[in-house]
Amino acid sequence: MTGGILSNLDKIDVLEMVAENFQGSSKGRLRSFKTLGSEVPLILHGVSMGLASTYPVETKRLEGMARLMEALRPETWSEHLSFVRAGGIEIGHLAAPPRTFENIQGSLENLGRAARVVGCRPALENIATLVQPPVSTMDEPTWVGGILEGSDCPFLLDLHNLYANALNIGEDPLEYLERFHLDRVQMVHLSGGRWISNPQAPEPGARRWLDDHLHDVPDPVFKLLEVVARRTAGSLTIILERDGNYPSFESLLGQLELARRAVQAGVDHRNSSPEMAGVS
């Protein structure tokens, strides 16, 4: 994979790196990635801070991100709108917290602390969830919107997470998309997934769409990307995520090409629309 990336930098405009994979790296390794950053812009992506929580984010994690920002000089950094620990328990992955005003308040406090320690605000990513968080007082778009409005952070919209959540609550993904703050989107994640089922589930025949990053981007997600490009006037950074079950590198580049076409189709539609072009 690394070889494929390095030999195709003319087709890749940005690299996103999971920050936790670089914590504790040697100075030499960090130097080599900083050098890579002189050829292609880097983005650091955190997966373990747990910013969307009523529990305070751990200072050591923020300081670790600050050190990486200093060492690698990426364009920016991003994190998830999730909690990953509470009450002294590590969940081990991204979990959706109860969507409440108290959670929004806690998230904003954590984001303020993050900005002070790291030096800049992160882009915030919506997560996929297989379970609707109980004791919530608002839906996902309202909750995400509340944090975006209160924090002034850019929105990293993961379209496959949105697609999965829409399917899992029985909503049309395109209609669900329209309920998010698309005007705040600066980055987009694309990935794939699959249906999973559980014969022992209380609900017979129940299935859920799992965001597994092991499959190609489904066609409806490219359609969602086209809509985002149509609705977003500013620049967009699109990241393709893949964690395993790797196809050929040409196939991955092919998905990037599909993403480029979807964005172009959205931009063309916006430019041809009298309303969007300011002509009545």
């Binding site: 009523t54 509470a86 108290e102 609707q132 109980p134 967009l236 950074t237 995520e241 480029r260």
Partner: protein, 77 residues
């Protein structure tokens, strides 16, 4: 900001199989025992239990080491 008892309760549900089993048998009683309010306990009892099972399985799978490590990403535009 007072930390949410519900977040701590969910973290335990997602990581402790015995606790999850007890919850599935007596959700409201266990929720109250763990300090949730009556309203919170009722909402916990009415939660999406099918989704809870999927989520707990997924978190267990992630903790066993798949995902999170060696993730490679690249972008365009």
């Amino acid at each position: 900001m007072r930390p949410s008892r519900v977040e701590a309760f969910l973290a335990k549900l997602y990581t402790d199989e015995d606790f999850l089993g007890k919850f599935l048998r007596e959700p409201e009683i266990l929720s109250r025992k763990e300090g949730l309010t009556g309203t919170e306990a009722k909402e916990m009892a009415g939660m999406d239990l099918t989704g809870l099972g999927f989520a707990a399985d997924s978190f267990k799978h992630k903790r066993r080491g798949r995902g999170g490590k060696g993730r490679k990403r690249f972008g365009i535009l």
